[in-house]
């Protein structure tokens, strides 16, 4: 746990491209908002491993968004039900329903459809937002944080020792 946290801090403070961390957060949201064993998540995992993005940010973000999805499940179900029962889309859904490939994705489940639609809608905004926030953090907050007494204490702690050790790793992102 300490190592993962240390690694995240390292990622956040490293020279890793903020776009790569932001992308990982966006994919984490997509994974977290869908059921864990959803076939879509398999495709997301492939993309996360294949595209150069920060794995620690993805894993931590997925935990966060999975928890958030638990709270938002009623909203997802309502969105999903509204989409799946929308008359203009009926032809599309019927065609997909009769295709094995799409049926495997469980698109006709209201929670899956709602979570997926929500994640797709907020994918780009989250990417841009997290990108901007990381930049702001590095430019303004990091220097100030390092000077605080609390940070001085942390830097003298065992946890910081681990963090320092982790800093020697490649960082997950290229």
């Amino acid at each position: 746990m300490l190592t993962t946290l240390a690694k995240l801090l390292k990622v956040l403070n490293s020279e890793t491209d903020p776009a790569q961390i932001g992308l990982a957060f966006s994919f984490a949201m997509l994974s977290g908002f869908l059921p864990f064993f959803s076939p879509v998540n398999l495709i997301v995992l492939l993309l996360v491993l294949l595209i150069r993005m920060n794995l620690s940010a993805y894993l931590l973000g997925m935990g966060f968004f999975a928890g958030l999805a638990y709270l938002l499940e009623p909203l997802f179900s309502r969105i999903g039900l509204a989409l799946l029962t929308a008359t203009p889309l009926e032809g599309l859904w019927t065609a997909m329903y009769n295709s094995t490939i799409w049926r495997i994705q469980q698109f006709n489940n209201t929670a899956v459809m709602g979570g997926f639609a929500f994640a797709i809608l907020f994918f780009v905004p989250l990417f841009l937002l997290s990108n901007a926030l990381i930049r702001q953090y590095r430019e303004h907050v990091l220097r100030w944080v390092r000077k605080t007494r609390l940070m001085q204490m942390i830097m003298a702690s065992k946890f910081y020792g681990i963090y320092e050790k982790v800093s020697g790793w490649s960082g997950g992102a290229a």
């Binding site: 491993l49 499940e73 997802f76 179900s77 039900l81 009926e90 329903y97 495997i104 469980q106 489940n109």
Partner: protein, 583 residues
């Protein structure tokens, strides 16, 4: 582009997926076993155990060995045990989220087997509804009259007490009114006035003329008193008549109590009309209840909770979050279907083999009802056995379930016909033919069971009942060699009635009727003595009050006679009847 792609990630992905698949395969058998036990337990309402599950990926075949379903009412027994269940899944449809089994085999089914340890019952079965008490008690002897009176409230003592208070009050009131009637002093005063008139008459015409006014006044006073007396007497007569009626009612009240208690604790004639209902009603009612209990438990297998939403259908999945929306399929198939199940079951009578077709909770999607058909094979104790039926929920609003069961030449031994504690009855041996037809819709439940028993040897066991009634039944049953029992089921699934009739009724009525009459008479005699002992004193008091009232009648006579005499005398004294006085 190269900057954004890391090909090592592909290797990592393959490794992750392979690890998950290997782990999944390693634990798959255990997962299936646990799933069968969990889903089975929730369906059956009692512990379901599975010895082993074997999943074969090639052709996706599953074999379940040693399935045991605990009987929720008797956790030490299995309601069902199945040695082996094997089936293969349609893998393409499984990818589409549909569990389709074309062929299933359930072998070595047995019922009511003993368990190694009592099964867990997460939700104890609902308490059986209170049985309707039969009108015929088979207890060892008639209840004791004294014991009955210890628990029963009698109406007569309260009524007699109230009547006694009424009569006493009436007596007091009449006593007061009697005091208002002319008494001895008033009569003497009238007498004096008459004497005075007589004296005046002797003194000549002048004296008579002077007293004429007095005569008129006297006769008016006498007539007024007489009128008042007559009115009082009329009212008294009415009150006396009411008191007499009240007394008669009160004398009858203890007998009303006696008859009420006899009807309650004695054996009614309606009980004798249908003794087979009394003797076999509980057992057959219990069979019906158990059948309905299992029918309700198995409902999820052939009834879905699908709720239509416009042209689409919204189906709540058994597990997981959200709901599944179903669209029109080019080749509609339900989410769960077992097209054909071959079943072999080991019964006491022999082997029963048959098929169940189209097990699905979505018959409306499949368009076919669930049907079942079994027949006996190599039967040891019967000539033939046939079970068939259909659970038709293709149109859920007009669902109809039917079942037929026919058994021919079944050699029976020690079959309990009545589990009554008072008088358990069993068919020690005999040959029976049985026909059962049952039909259930949403609103109605009907059925008819006809059992013909030949070469019968009936035995009434040693229950609590040991009196003459039980002896009469035992003797009658021991002489019966063949009989027919008919049970008619009617009503709604929630509120049904089982009417049982049998030619045993006539036999039992003849032999038991005399005993019942004797016992009833004896109970009535005892009750009468006990009730009268409680009310005798009260009745005597009531009679005394009435007699007191009755005695007042004489007083009215006396006063009336005296007044009439005075009027006559006054008339005579007024002179040769010249004065016409009313009487």
């Amino acid at each position: 582009m190269k900057k954004w792609i890391r090909w090592q990630g592909l290797i990592a992905f393959v490794m992750v997926v392979c690890s998950v698949v290997v782990l999944w395969l390693f634990f798959l058998d255990g997962l299936v076993k646990r799933m069968v036990e969990q889903v089975g337990t929730s369906l059956a309402g009692a512990e379901v155990d599975l010895a082993a599950a074997d999943v074969k990926l090639f052709l996706l075949g599953i074999t379940l060995n040693g399935l045991q379903v605990t009987n929720p009412e008797e956790p030490a027994l299995n309601s069902l045990e199945c040695a082996r269940i094997a089936f293969s899944l349609d893998s393409l449809n499984l990818l589409r989220g549909k569990v389709i089994v074309n062929e299933m085999a359930a072998e070595g089914m047995r019922f009511g087997t003993k368990r190694a340890r009592p099964g867990r019952v997460p939700k104890p079965p609902e308490k059986k509804p209170e049985e309707k008490s039969s009108s015929l008690s088979l207890s060892s002897s008639m209840p004791d009259a004294k014991k009955i009176l210890e628990t029963e409230q009698l109406d007569s003592p309260k009524l007699i007490e109230a009547a006694g208070a009424d009569l006493a009050k009436g007596q007091d009131q009449w006593q007061e009114r009697m005091n208002e009637l002319p008494d001895r002093a008033a009569i003497d005063a009238y007498q004096a006035r008459i004497q005075k008139i007589k004296q005046a008459k002797k003194s000549g015409i002048a004296g008579l003329a002077g007293e004429l006014g007095e005569v008129r006044a006297l006769t008016r006073d006498l007539e007024q008193d007489l009128d008042r007396l007559k009115k009082s007497r009329a009212a008294f007569s009415a009150d006396l008549s009411s008191a007499g009626k009240l007394l008669a009612d009160m004398q009858e009240a203890p007998m009303k109590d006696v008859r009420r208690l006899r009807d309650k604790y004695g054996i009614s004639s309606s009980g004798l009309q249908n003794m087979s209902q009394t003797l076999f009603g509980d057992s057959i009612g219990s069979w019906v209840r158990t059948s309905l209990l299992w029918y309700n438990r198995l409902q999820p297998i052939f009834r879905s909770a699908a709720a239509p939403k416009g042209d689409k259908q919204v189906v709540k999945p058994l597990r997981g979050s959200g709901v599944n929306v179903r669209f029109k399929e080019s080749r509609p198939l339900p989410d769960f279907l077992i097209s054909r199940t071959a079943v072999s079951a080991e019964l006491e009578a022999g082997m029963l083999v048959g098929t169940i077709r189209d097990i699905t909770p979505e018959q409306q999607v499949l368009g076919s009802p669930l049907t079942f058909s079994f027949s006996g094979e190599k039967l040891k104790a019967a000539q033939a056995m046939e079970i068939s039926g259909a659970l038709n929920h293709v149109r859920p609003s007009k669902a109809v379930d039917t079942a037929q069961y026919a058994l021919r030449g079944y050699r029976v031994k020690d079959l309990s016909l009545s589990g009554s504690k008072d008088l358990p009855i069993s068919l020690q041996e005999g040959k029976l033919d049985l026909n059962l037809l049952a039909r259930k819709t949403e609103q109605a439940l009907t059925g008819k069971l006809v059992v013909k028993v030949m070469d019968a040897r009936l035995s009434a066991g040693s229950g609590n009942a040991s009196g003459p009634l039980a002896s009469a039944i035992k003797t009658s049953l021991s002489k019966v060699s063949q009989f027919t029992l008919t049970a008619d089921l009617s009503g709604t699934p929630e509120n049904y009635e089982v009417k049982i009739s049998s030619d045993l009724d006539r036999v039992l009525k003849d032999s038991v009727g005399r005993v019942v009459q004797e016992q009833g008479d004896r109970l009535e005699k005892e009750l009468k003595a006990a009730v009268l002992a409680k009310t005798d004193k009260q009745l005597a008091g009531l009679q005394k009050n009435y007699n007191g009232l009755l005695s007042m009648n004489g007083r009215f006579d006396d006063v009336q006679n005296q007044l009439n005499g005075l009027i006559k005398e006054a008339t005579a004294s007024s002179g040769a009847g010249k004065l016409k006085l009313r009487r």
